[in-house]
Amino acid sequence: MKRSFLKKLGLAIMGISLFLAAYFAAYAGKAITVKGSDTMLILGQRWAEIYMNQNPGVTIQVTGGGSGVGIAALINGSTDICEASRSMKSSEIDKLKERFNTIGVEIPVARDGLSIYLNAENKISELTLDQLRDIYTGKTTNWKDLGGEDTKIVLYGRENSSGTYSYFKDNVLQGLDFAAQTQTLPGTGAIVNAVSKDKFGIGYGGAAYAKAVKYSKVKKDATTPGYEPTLENIKNGKYPISRYLYWYLRNKPTGEIKKFVDFVLSPQGQEIVTKVGYFPVK
């Protein structure tokens, strides 16, 4: 290697260092962005509101779109924090390795009982996991077969970018495809709204959204009792479809992001979890 080249290389490194220093200075006060799970949208917004009230100099932007969208944003660098209602897939971690040389940081921030919504007038009050699988795969299509009225079951579900969709598919449908007649809606709120207006509708989503609908109790099988997604039932493992809600970061949190993470995991942050309708991890 020639000396002149080393000299040029040294100058180039110096130039880049100066540019980086300017870059850090320019971006030091930028907003923290949080993106992902629609299930966690309300929760994320509450955390952000309260944290910003307590820390007036900080700006936090929270948006939804679904866990898949949030993870994609984390991978392409357009969000600082990803909210996800499912774990990252191995293929998604591979993309993070390729782009950022990291495996990401997974932080469980809350627990959720994946609720089954029924219209308040529906006579059915509990369903087994097998029945839910048969309903959503199109094997059971009439409420009569489940002890209800002789009417067609109307299925409401999430889009495939949603973590709730993936979780439900993997854990309730056991990997099988959703029935073609499932109407996909863009958010848990939309599902709750649809089921509240449709006497013969059924939907699934986070516990925090259940307004003007009723929960179906869920049974592991026909011989076990049914349970509602309450804190006690989720904590003691009786409710069969519960999950963690996660925050994902590219690297170990530092600076303001670390302070925000600490706040979310603090007793105050976990109290917000309970107020919103989910279950604390601590």
Binding site: M1, L9, I16, L20, Y23, F24, Y27, N76, G77, S78, S90, K97, E98, R99, F100, N101, T102, I103, V105, N160, G175, D177, R250, N251, K252, T254
Partner: protein, 413 residues
């Protein structure tokens, strides 16, 4: 009395008219509601048809990337055949993936660069979950499931090109064949594939494989959090075409036209013996490891290394020779916007004889700037040199002017 009867009659008339008017009003409201309902049903039907039509688009994904480059070579000289400083399109890729369900997938992948369009990949994948394990059968034209950097997309790699060992042993990175992947829960993935063996860039055997047995590849890789590790093996045959015997010739040219055979007017060529076609072993073994560290505040650090050991027919040495190659690649992310990397790449095409300047060692440096989520701008510098004693520590004198600077703009979608 008359007045009372008259009043009653008027009331009856008014009542009759109003009842009739109310009836008419009710009928017309009902008709309007029915019409509205019919219209709503029609709209619902249209939306349902539209949803079904648009829903198909969700199954189709179009992805790809373009790499536009300027390359400056030290070796460049003036002249049409000597200038090596150029603007050009290195890769122009477009991939169409169709996945209507969770049990199958179709992929077709083209490259449009340097004025040609070529088929890079075309395959069908079938998926089957058995308890906690997932099987994938891939059939068609796709990447050889060997090592790390073959399957690592050029759109993600820090350096303009793959290592020399990979370029020599797996030219084109793809072949036609079948591959079975078994993903065991969490940690282990196994591959077993059979292939034609000549790759998509072999011009001699572009489509037909002259060797009846197919080449076999096996690979096992594991992911242990921040450390990934894999081993690969390739067992196949290499066909070298023979040539027919050529008879010797004697020709006379009467240069002075005197009809007499003079010395110097006769030319002879020696006969050539037939060269038999041959089949030789084509063996490759590989090991690769990747380590991801998160200890610097500026971003993640990736250390990637891969080793190749191979055996092929060497046409220069006219015998089966052993080959060796490896690289060590250090990559550092610097916030979301920047990246820096360096790689040392070693390749020795014949380890059996210690031929001087046989092996090559290349030091590469690269810097990236991520303009946005789609665009990456890369400046890279490659410093290759021939190694006198085939050792990376060997001294070399009179380094050839063959360094290369690359400026690349890449758009990925």
């Amino acid at each position: 009395m008359k007045a009372r009867i008259f009043l009653i009659l008027i009331l009856l008339v008014i009542l009759g008219v109003s009842t009739s008017w109310a009836q008419t009003q009710e009928d017309s409201t009902e008709a309007a509601m029915q019409e509205l309902k019919d219209r709503l049903d029609g709209i619902s039907e249209n939306i349902s048809t539209l949803n079904s039509d648009v829903g198909i688009l969700k199954y189709i994904k179009v992805t790809g990337y373009i790499q536009a480059r300027y390359e400056y070579n030290d070796s460049s000289k003036y002249g049409a055949n000597l200038n090596a400083n150029n603007f050009y399109i290195r890769r122009g890729r477009i991939k169409l993936t169709v996945q209507p369900g969770t049990s199958s997938k179709y992929v077709i992948y083209f490259d449009a660069s340097k004025n040609t369009v070529s088929l890079k990949e075309a395959y069908i994948e079938l998926y089957k979950a058995v308890q906690q394990s997932n099987f994938t059968l891939t059939f068609g034209q796709f990447n050889w499931p060997f090592g790390y950097e073959i399957e690592y997309s050029s759109s993600k790699r820090d350096f303009p090109e793959r290592s020399l060992a990979e370029n020599n042993l797996f030219k084109g990175e793809r072949d036609r064949g079948a591959n079975l992947t078994l993903a065991l829960p969490k940690y282990l993935q196994l591959n077993l594939g059979i292939f034609q063996g000549y790759g998509i860039e072999n011009s001699t055997f572009a489509w037909a494989d002259p060797t009846k047995p197919k080449d076999v590849i096996a690979r096992a890789k594991t992911k242990l959090g921040m450390l990934d590790f894999g081993v690969s093996g390739y067992w196949g045959k290499n066909h070298t075409s023979g040539s027919a015997a050529v008879a010797g010739t004697t020709t006379w040219y009467d240069a002075d036209g005197d009809a007499v055979v003079d010395p110097g007017e006769i030319k002879t060529t020696a006969p050539k013996a037939a060269v038999l076609a041959r089949e030789d072993d084509k063996i490759r073994y590989g090991a690769d490891a990747q380590l991801y560290l998160d200890f610097l505040p500026i971003g993640g650090t990736g250390i990637r290394a891969e080793y190749y050991q191979a055996k092929d027919y060497n046409s220069s040495a006219k015998k089966v020779a052993n080959e060796k190659g490896w690289y060590l690649w250090l990559s550092q992310s610097i916030t979301n916007k920047f990246g820096a990397a360096t790689r040392y790449d070693y390749w020795n095409p014949n380890t059996d004889t210690n031929v001087k300047n046989d092996a090559t060692g290349t030091l590469s440096l690269a810097m990236h700037y991520f303009w946005d989520s789609y665009v990456r701008i890369t400046a890279a510098y490659d410093i290759p040199h021939k190694l006198k004693d085939n050792s990376i520590f060997s001294k070399y004198s009179g380094d050839v002017k063959d360094n290369r600077f690359t400026l690349q703009f890449q758009f990925t979608y």
